[in-house]
Amino acid sequence: MGVIIEFKQIGKQYNQKSIITNFNLAIAQGELVTVIGSSGSGKTTLLKMLNGLVKPDHGTISIYQQLLSEQDIITLRRKIGYCIQGSVLFPHMTVAQNISYVLRLEHWKKKEIYRRIDECLEIVQLSEEMKQHYPDQLSGGQQQRVGIARALAADPDIILMDEPFGAVDEITRVELQKALKSIHEKTEKTIIFITHDIREALMLGTKVLVLDKGELQAYETPEQLQNNSNVFVQRLLNSRSD
């Protein structure tokens, strides 16, 4: 499988404080990368660089072997599913309208849109009656699932997910993990998935990316990670039993 995403010597500062330092990584097509690291370690910042919401101060990012800075960012964003941290939904739109947002931007046919909304609702395990609800009528977990559905709607080849299962209950979470895994296996999509939960990271990922203070600590399969001697990785693995 070829490289689909590549970070080269990425550096990023906020207010003179280094958030990401000399970050290098190549992600092969079809990986499900789980990203783990403590709060404030720069996970969201890295993710946002991939769809141009954050611009690196140094270094380059390539997607599909083409520099990000040379691509039309709007076209690219519509091909990258983005499930934003905290699943920020559009409060003035119904669930159906939220999910179909990109589809409408892309001028899909009405019929196709309705069909796709139903499919997405099914993937995230929401009932059809929810369609006409507004976000403030949903629980936190339901809102997150709508956020996931919105990111999946246009069937993008790259999907960025920023702590998508944080607020869902344990049972639904297992269902959603299964659903994500099956989407990934069936479709060869490249997925980058940020989580705080080391067990989820190990269980879901084909690769696990460990980040600390803006520096790459490890990028390996879950099996390889078990044997990693990195202090931070060890601490992470040990926290599992808590």
Binding site: K48, N51, L53, I74, T75, L76, R77, R78, Y82, I84, G86, V88, L89, F90, P91, H92, T94, Q97, Y101, V102, L105, Q132, R150
Partner: protein, 513 residues
């Protein structure tokens, strides 16, 4: 009861003004809504524009309405256009400010989500920011609508229509009921529109929840188009009636209303010309004369002394023997002429109680000199402050009164009749002068300019409608000071309409066949 009867009698007049008021307000509201919304969007999207534009808009808002109208008259003339422009300018600020506040308050996380999903800047604005800012924008719009409807009341000050006409005419002709009804109608329009606004907002919200299929949107579009169509229709039916061939203006004074009506009646009965009167232009000469130059009016009643000092800006006091010079200057500078001099004069004068005049045999102000010492002089407060007021007057005539008294202008005549004062300044055509037991002393030293009344007409109008000369000839010398003040009294105290007073008088003079 009387009040309701009053409304019943003036129903047609008030209804016309109400429609006109609504039309003027709605046009200004729509303009401000589109323009203010647009500016609000620009200001919030392009940060470098925020300070200069917000600053200018706020500045416009602080200009007092009277001065704003004054600035606009040279640009847009007298009438509805100026009123609409002024109202739109005032309505701009609430619209811009609320649009700006609404748009900039939208949660940045929501904007980032929209951006991350691949929205263009314009799509973020139209799909996300504007809908989310709508409640704030609408609350600004709601205030703006009420404000504009209320403010439209001042439109008549510069000759525009609307209910301000009723208020203003009520004030200038001492008709409190008319003023009250005008104000009430404005309040009712404002209230009703507010209720409709809230109702419309609710219906719209419900519809949005119930169904967002495009069919409904089309229906919306049809309703909106229909409403706009109706407004445009009202506008044209109100503002573009049969093109008048003679446009008369009057100042906000009872006698000018009567004179304007007289001319209109005479012209319409004796010629085929169609007349349009704009009554009670605020600011009087200062605004009517420029409008005459701009061909917005053809004729208006004017006083020689005012023409001399205000229009020609001649120094010194105008006396009747300077009429030829006045006439020549008007013709040379403005292509206008004085014609149809009515024969009365609306000047300042001193009046004394009749018994005193008989006792001392008084005819002129100079006659007062030897008898003033025991007499009490009464006048409204500002008479003692004015340049041509009390001090210069007593110096010129070398008078010494026993005492001076400050009075409310409305109580002067009562005070002299009750003997509280003996001498007072009046206007020679004051309505009450015709009834009171007073004698008007002539200004033998010509302290006051002469304010004989006539018509100022544009040459061009007389040339294209020579038949008008006959009309002006027929009004020449038909009024004395006493008759004019009697007619004023009929309007101000007997509550007869200026139009009816004018018609009765013309009938008595056998000028109507």
């Amino acid at each position: 009861m009387e009040f309701i009867q009053f409304i019943g009698e003036r129903w047609e007049f008030l209804w016309g003004l109400t429609l006109e008021h609504i039309a003027i307000s709605v046009i200004a509201i729509v303009i401000a809504m589109i323009l203010g919304g647009g500016i609000g969007i620009i200001v919030s999207e392009f940060q470098q524009t925020t300070r200069p534009i917000m600053g200018s808009v706020s500045f416009l808002y602080t200009i007092p309405s009277i001065s704003l109208l004054g600035f606009l008259i040279p640009l847009t003339g007298i009438g509805n256009t100026t009123a609409i422009v002024a109202l739109s300018i005032y309505a701009l600020l609430p619209m811009v400010r609320n649009t700006y506040t609404g748009l900039t308050q939208v949660d940045t996380a929501i904007i980032e989500a929209a951006k991350g999903l691949g929205s263009t800047r314009w799509q973020i604005l139209s799909h996300i920011k504007i809908p989310l800012a709508l409640p704030v924008i609408l609350s600004g719009l709601r205030n703006m609508i009420t404000m504009t409807i209320a403010l439209a009341g001042i439109a008549s000050f510069i000759g525009a229509g609307g209910l301000g006409v009723a208020i203003y005419r009520g004030i200038t002709t001492n008709n409190a009921q008319l003023t009250l009804v005008g104000s009430l109608c404005i309040a009712v329009i404002a209230l009703v529109s507010d209720v409709l606004f809230v109702y419309g907002e609710q219906v719209w919200k419900k519809k949005r929840v119930a169904c967002e299929k495009s069919v409904k949107k089309k229906k919306h579009a049809i309703t909106v188009t229909a409403i706009i169509g109706i407004i445009i229709a009202i506008y044209f039916s109100l503002f573009n009636p049969v093109k008048p061939q003679v446009k008369i203006a009057t100042k906000p004074m009872t006698e000018q209303y009567i004179l304007g009506e007289m001319l209109a009646i005479l012209i319409e009965t004796n010629t085929d010309l169609h007349v349009d009167i704009t009554h009670g232009i605020g600011g009087g000469t200062a605004n009517i004369h420029p409008a005459m130059i701009a061909n917005e009016f053809d004729v208006y009643p004017e006083y020689t002394g005012t023409g001399w000092s205000t229009v020609l800006q001649e120094p010194g006091i105008y006396t009747n023997d300077q009429f030829t010079q006045l006439q020549n200057e008007y013709s040379k500078k403005y292509n206008m002429q004085w014609t149809g001099m009515y024969g009365f004069e609306n000047s300042y004068a001193l009046a004394v109680r009749k018994e005193i005049a008989t006792q001392y045999d008084l005819e002129t102000i100079s006659d007062l000199r030897k008898v003033a010492e025991p007499l009490v002089f009464g006048a409204e407060y500002d008479f003692y402050e004015r340049e041509d007021g009390y001090e210069p007057l007593i110096q010129r005539y070398n008078l010494t009164f026993y005492q001076t008294v400050d009075l409310d202008i409305g109580l002067k005549y009562q005070a002299i009749e009750e003997g509280k004062i003996d001498v007072m300044p009046i206007f020679t055509t004051d309505g009450q002068a015709s009834q009171a037991d007073i004698v008007v002393l002539s200004d033998d030293l010509q302290f006051y300019p002469s304010y004989t009344c006539g018509n100022v007409v544009r040459h061009e109008v007389l040339q294209s409608h020579p038949e008008l000369q006959g009309i002006f000839d027929s009004v020449t010398q038909i009024l004395t000071n006493e008759t004019m003040s009697q007619l004023n009294y009929d309007v101000e105290k007997n509550g007869i309409e200026p139009h009816d007073v004018a018609r009765n008088f013309l009938e008595q003079q056998n000028l109507l066949k």
